[in-house]
């Protein structure tokens, strides 16, 4: 059989186990990976989480959201406050250093709480605004993103415009890649079920979906809240990877960068979106040497990406790397 067809992961659970195993192995071997490469891998994994979670909102449910970076900011600041202020004062004997065993063990609940706080923010924005459609929703989410940024800029307790520094480096390859795998698994498992088709039904035709008994508002809010949760986790991972966060790092352009990943990867294709997220992360690194011409070249490459869609054409090659019994190959149809 010629294997250049679209690969579909047969059992997402096997893929999840494989992802977690890779995360653990890389972590165990992290001593041999140089710090720069480690940093790039961390960024790539965080971008995968961001892009794949935004894909649920934009790609699967068809709602245009311009504030994904704001949810990331909520998660980043919440986690930084937790590990920097709350944990040391509540459990002084823990000596939270980020890398110690005790801090690594408490990092999971920290990530979850950061995600839940971002999810709550998602509920507050999404609840009232998801009754709006298209352009109006884009405006509300754009406004929310700016509100969060301005609020953080003017709150002295979190450093205002100077941001927060001295966040401890708890994020490592295991957490970042592990959560990227969990995000990808959750999205694939969710959408590939009768329940999950509800998101796509909302995207395809809201009126018909309503008429078939689907509570479209609830599906949209659910997508938004899940997306915000994972964005919050990504923010927490980011904060504990770069050790410094400022409101400017989560502005509109950051949201836009995530949107580009989702569109490049092919709306509604989680694996393609993940590949696009990795490609764009690498692109950002390669272009570092070009200094002031960086954005010009970046824009040009994005245009070329849009025309030639490498993430989509890479899908069959990625499929080839996976043993056949884990993947079902589907003949690609001309749409």
């Amino acid at each position: 059989m010629f294997r250049s067809y679209h690969a579909r992961i047969k059992n997402p659970r096997v893929a999840l186990a494989a992802g977690l195993a890779i995360a653990l192995l890389l972590q165990l071997g992290s001593g041999w990976i140089d710090p720069y490469t480690t940093q790039v891998i961390l960024f790539a994994a965080i971008n995968v989480i961001l892009a794949v979670s935004l894909n649920l909102v934009m790609g699967e449910t068809g709602q245009f959201s311009l504030c994904h970076a704001a949810f990331m900011a909520v998660g980043a600041y919440a986690s930084a406050l937790l590990t920097g202020k709350a944990l040391p004062s509540l459990f002084p004997h823990l000596a939270w250093t980020g890398t110690s065993w005790a801090s690594q063990l408490t990092f999971l609940p920290v990530l979850m709480i950061a995600g839940l706080i971002a999810a709550f923010a998602g509920l507050i924005v999404g609840g009232p605004s998801l009754r709006l459609r298209g352009d109006y929703l884009a405006m509300v989410t754009l406004g929310f993103g700016e509100i969060i940024r301005v609020l953080l800029q003017n709150t002295n307790a979190v450093g205002g415009a100077r941001g927060m520094e001295g966040i401890l480096p708890a994020t490592n390859l295991f957490w970042a890649i592990g959560f990227a795998a969990v995000t990808l698994y959750t999205m694939i498992a969710l959408v590939r079920s009768t329940y999950g088709r509800g998101f796509q039904a909302v995207r395809d035709d809201e009126i018909a979906a309503e008429a078939m008994g689907i509570n479209t508002t609830r599906f949209k809010v659910t997508a938004f809240v899940i997306g915000a949760f994972f964005a919050g986790v990504a923010g927490a991972l980011y904060a504990h990877a770069v050790e410094f966060i400022s409101p400017e790092g989560f502005n509109f352009l950051r949201s836009f960068e995530i949107i580009v990943m989702v569109i490049l990867g092919g709306l509604g294709r989680p694996v393609g979106v993940a590949v696009a997220a990795i490609l764009i992360t690498l692109l950002n690194e390669w272009l570092r040497d070009l200094s002031q011409y960086r954005m010009v070249v970046y824009a040009l490459i994005i245009i070329l990406f849009m025309i030639f869609r490498p993430a989509e054409s890479l899908r069959p090659f990625i499929g080839r790397l996976i043993p056949e019994r884990f993947v079902r190959f589907k003949k690609s149809k001309a749409a």
């Binding site: 997402p12 659970r13 959750t186 498992a189 969710l190 079920s193 009768t194 329940y195 999950g196 088709r197 509800g198 796509q200 039904a201 995207r203 395809d204 035709d205 009126i207 018909a208 979906a209 309503e210 008429a211 078939m212 008994g213 689907i214 509570n215 479209t216 659910t222 509604g268 149809k333």
Partner: protein, 263 residues
């Protein structure tokens, strides 16, 4: 069927958009298991009536009772779960989903497993997923569409798309099915098949059917009772034979001149 309570009762409903009255003081009734037709010239308010019944619009005045309960003002999805499903004048299938999935979306409102179970994919999720697949397959097979289950819904021939819309609506297990111009754009063979299909739905599922249709052959051929709507008002009601003989109806359709027939 003999008791006094109708399946659906629209009582003195009006629908206005600013100064324009789409419906004025409309009252209709449909009994359980009945095959009812709704006809009228273009712009008479037939689709508007469907839209207030299914919750797309809220009537400006009047009330709507479904099995004795007030439904005006409820959202569409809630009205659907109460036991009412519809199709659309312009086909509204889920274009990116295949034929089987289109039917299975109708089961979403009745799933036992929610978000968490779906993501965890436990035993209860898997068995329910199998049930849903099976039920969808059975429905498709029943209406002769099982061969297309994995095809994109857009790739179906026009007549089959209309049929799929009816199957999808039926999958929500309605006691009342509202069909908005199901024969539009069909050729004579497809229309004949459609008539049989509607009769089967009523006879074998016991579903009451309310039909908006311009094709008089289809309407007169299968409906037991008709309402005629003109300029947002109920002009006449009765059996097909009574309607055909009603001079008011002939005037509404053909203007003032005499001696012409409703074809």
């Amino acid at each position: 069927m003999s008791n006094s309570q109708a399946l659906l009762e629209v009582k003195n409903c009006s629908l206005r958009f600013g100064g324009i009255a789409a419906l004025t003081d409309v009252s209709i009734k449909i009994e359980a298991g009945e095959l009812l037709g709704l006809i009228g010239p273009n712009g008479a308010g037939k689709t508007s009536l469907f839209n207030i019944i299914t919750g797309v619009y809220r009537p400006t005045e009047g009330e709507i009772l479904f099995e004795g309960g007030l439904i005006a003002g409820l959202p569409s999805h809630a009205i659907n779960t109460l036991g009412m499903a519809r199709t659309f004048q312009n086909i509204r299938l889920f274009g990116s989903l295949d034929v089987g999935m289109n039917v299975r979306t109708s089961f979403i409102a009745r799933l036992r497993n929610g978000l968490i179970n779906t993501v965890c994919r436990g035993r209860s999720f898997r068995s329910e997923e199998e049930e849903v697949q099976e039920e969808g397959r059975r429905l498709l097979a029943y209406f002769g569409l099982e061969h297309a289950a994995l095809h994109p819904s857009r790739s179906l021939p026009y007549g089959d798309q209309r049929r799929l819309e009816i199957v999808r609506a039926l999958a929500t297990k309605p006691r009342l099915l509202l069909l908005d111009e199901p024969a539009a754009g069909m050729n004579p063979t497809e229309k004949e098949e459609l008539k049989q299909l509607i009769a089967r739905v009523r006879d074998e599922f016991g579903t009451a059917v309310m039909l908006v249709e311009h094709d008089m052959k289809v309407v007169m051929g299968i409906c037991e009772r008709l309402y005629v709507l003109d300029q947002g008002k109920v002009l006449a009601s009765g059996t097909p034979a009574e309607i055909r003989a009603n001079p008011k109806v002939i005037t509404a359709y053909l203007g003032e001149s005499r001696g012409e027939e409703v074809a």
